[in-house]
Amino acid sequence: MITIETIGQVAEHYDIAVVGAGPAGLAAASRAAELGLSVLLADENPAPGGQIYRAITTTPVTKRAVLGEDYWKGGALVDRLRPTNAAYAPGCTVWSVAPDEAGGFELGLSLGGQARLIAAGQVILATGAQERPFPIPGWTLPGVMTAGAAQIALKASGLVPSGRTVIAGCGPLLYLLAGQLAAAGANIVAVLDTTPRRNWLAAIAAFPGFLRSPYLAKGLKLMAAARGRLPFKTGVTALAAGGSDKLTGVTVTRGGASETIPCDALLLHQGVIPGINLANAAGCAQHFDTVQHCWTPTVDDWFASSIPGIAIAGDGAGIGGAESAALRGEIAALDAARRLGRLSEAERNEKAAPTQAELARSLRGRRFLDLLYRPAPQFLAPPADETIVCRCEEVTAGQIRDTARRLGVTGPNQMKAFLRCGMGPCQGRLCGPTVVELIAQERGVSAEETGYYRLRPPVKPVTLAELAALPPTDAAIKAVVR
């Protein structure tokens, strides 16, 4: 592993560029490098691991029990990459991926305040998951953050929220985080479970699969540990964060009755969804996954997207968890090697077979979790008009409903022109799913029919100075020299 420290050390061309150094990216880069391909592994974070294994090589948390045994498995993924020749670029943002005229791809990179265009024959996007937006009244108040953000602070810096902490939402990660924070010494005054009770009806048909699932034992342990120690409240049907200039409490509705719990920190989480921005901006086709209830890039069995040469591995192409992500990265790398002529189809198939079997096993029971922890409609499309949906441009649910109804706006791309939702620096990461939900609800059509934002590069902001100083590419220089 060659660690890249400045943008000048990045080569002009790689066989494969892998974006994201979580489990999928680490596995893909390792496998590709082991096959003798030149590999760039670019990652925004200062250290490898992605979200699930964030700071695995640098975390100040030394008591292994705090983060749980699963977390420490991430170390092996990094250890596998170390002996290879892969170039690993931490702190490197990939802001654009686009087909070039030579049949490969041009990537826009930014590292240490300098931008650069490079070429790659194949691209594997391993950009992982993001938390599903959780728009409730008051969620923009200081003191309210996502559970994932709290987990980042814990893993990267060993920090826990100070004061009385309330955790609210649903999904397996909620229980995991509650357990981790409690073990790290947080003062958790309530865990508010928003899982709709009727989800059991939909999920029960998938229960037999879950019984054979690797999640089962792990999940039961997590749940039991959290429930045993923490003040759980289930059947939550409405939430509102209160306070004037900062959070002072959360109002909870259960069984038709409301109460306000005073608190200093509110951590929200209702599951994760694929982080699709880079894939979408690169032009990869996507569809609405009705089981996971989110937009997902469309991929084949080898995780190849609709654009030949771009594969999407890991949770970025559908939520499957860390173990499956690494396996998917592995499979995507084998197929990329086949596309580059390094492996024949038969060789690829042979090498992939055991990994594919393992992948199938690792995904068993997923459907049950997806159906059980699907957020309630009122937490996907906020009923209160004043709830802010687009935080960048401060657009409310009421404005979106009104514009959809009054102006006959049929999709989120048109909505942008009227309300600017999705036009801020986050490019809709925090509002896209909610805007789609609101428009679909207003028009009485599906999310699929409503569509999603067409996203534009740069997927992450680049400064004008960086862009102005962009060195001419090799291809451009050659064109002049000739």
């Binding site: 654009s96 686009a98 087909p99 041009e106 826009g108 265009l117 032009g283 102006l407 006959g408 049929t410 999709g411 048109q414 942008k416 022109a417 009227f418 600017r420 036009m423 801020g424 620096p425 490019q427 534009r456 590069p457 740069p458 902001p461 680049v462 400064t463 004008l464 100075a465 862009l467 102005a468 100083a469 962009l470 001419p472 590419t473 451009a476």
Partner: protein, 377 residues
């Protein structure tokens, strides 16, 4: 607006600002209209352009249409019941050096002789007053004070909605596959069945050459993808839209502080996939021009870059007016990356020509006959 409606006085092909405006003005004149759009109104060039509402620096052949349009922009809310985000803070062409300023002077003199007075030569002091942030090296320029900008998709959709409210039948998501003569009528075949009318308007933008080819009036239309980028919010520092002559740049700060940077640099258009690919090398050149002229912008984060799919003619002038071959066929396309401002006026003039047979607004030099095979040397 019954779903079963298959014929009308006029069929407009294309739901960009031109198609929508023509449909609306036809409906205002009491004609029945069907507008057929393969995506949604304003999906391409009309919805994603820079939004410049500019009379400044136009080719003389376009000035009458542009003037007609400008009068409509200044009462746009009365016309379409939506202000379209239109603001009028002028547009300024900045001369980068004395030679450049000399060209500006010659241009303004020429317009004056022709009887047009919307462009005004300005010196360094007036330039600094209008655009305080511009680099000190610039000696002056030209201003067109009634110019401004609007929000493109919002404006296009406002025309669509107004047309609808006047009874026009807007069919979005319907793709025209062929246009053919059918007795005294024109038959417009689509992926949702055929439509009939005695009069059709080809306002199909970057796809208009295909309609023209069906009508045996082939045109050398180039499909282009002009690129734009926008920054995060910056402190307010500029009111008018700024354009350059020598180096390519158009530059506009919106009320919310974001700055739109364009200049006509082209990406790659893949029109059959509704897709464009950006050329970051050219956007870097574009950024360098801003870096030179507006030091205040150097640290601005670029949030998004994009390109629309647009038609350009070899002479950079639109194809506007009656068909050279057929009765009942009208062309309105090829605006070559400067058609947004023309939309309201061109629709009014086109509707007048359709309804009355002629218009007082001169459109000489814009006809499709200039591309007829026999007219080539």
């Amino acid at each position: 607006m019954s779903e079963a409606r298959r014929s009308a006085d006029v069929i407009v092909i294309g739901g960009g600002i031109h198609g929508c405006s023509t449909a609306m003005h036809c409906a205002m004149r009491g004609l029945s209209v069907i507008l057929i759009e393969k995506d949604h109104a304003g999906r391409h060039a009309s919805g994603v352009n820079a939004g410049g509402v500019r009379q400044l620096a136009r080719h003389v052949a376009e000035i009458p249409l542009s003037n007609t349009s400008m009068a409509l922009w200044h009462r746009i809310e009365d016309l379409v019941d939506d202000d379209c985000g239109f603001t009028s803070d002028g547009q300024v062409l900045v001369a980068e050096d004395e030679e450049d300023l000399g060209n500006c002077r010659a241009r303004v003199d020429d317009l004056t002789l022709r009887g047009f007075h919307h462009e005004e030569l300005i010196d360094a002091a007036e330039l600094r007053r209008l655009v305080p942030a511009v680099s000190d090296a610039c000696p002056g320029g030209v201003v067109s004070r009634r110019d401004g900008a609007a929000i493109p998709l919002r404006a296009t959709q406002a025309f669509k909605r107004k047309a609808q409210s006047l009874g026009a039948d807007i069919r979005e998501g319907v793709r025209v596959t062929r246009v053919a003569r059918d007795g005294a009528n024109w038959r417009v075949e689509t992926d949702h069945g055929a439509f009939h009318s005695s009069r059709i308007v080809n306002a199909a933008g970057a796809w208009a050459d295909r309609i023209a080819a069906d009508l045996a009036e082939p045109v050398p239309l180039e499909v282009i993808a002009p690129m734009l980028m926008i920054t995060a919010r910056m402190p307010a520092f500029i009111k008018p839209v700024v354009i350059l002559r020598k180096r390519k740049l158009s530059f506009k700060q919106f009320e919310n502080g974001t700055v739109l940077i364009g200049g006509g640099y082209l990406g790659r258009a893949i029109r059959d996939e509704n897709r464009t690919v950006l050329d970051w090398g050219k956007l870097a050149t574009n950024a360098k021009t801003v870096w030179d002229l507006f030091p205040i912008m150097r640290g601005a984060p670029i949030l998004r870059a994009w390109a629309g799919i647009e038609a350009r003619m070899p002479d950079d002038l639109p194809v506007f007016g009656r068909s050279a071959r057929h009765e009942g066929v009208y062309h309105q396309f090829g605006f070559s990356a400067h058609g947004f401002q023309l939309g309201p006026g061109a629709g009014a003039v086109m509707a007048e020509i359709i309804a009355t047979g002629s218009s007082n607004v001169p459109i000489d030099g814009l006809g499709i006959a200039r591309f007829a095979v026999s007219a080539q040397p």
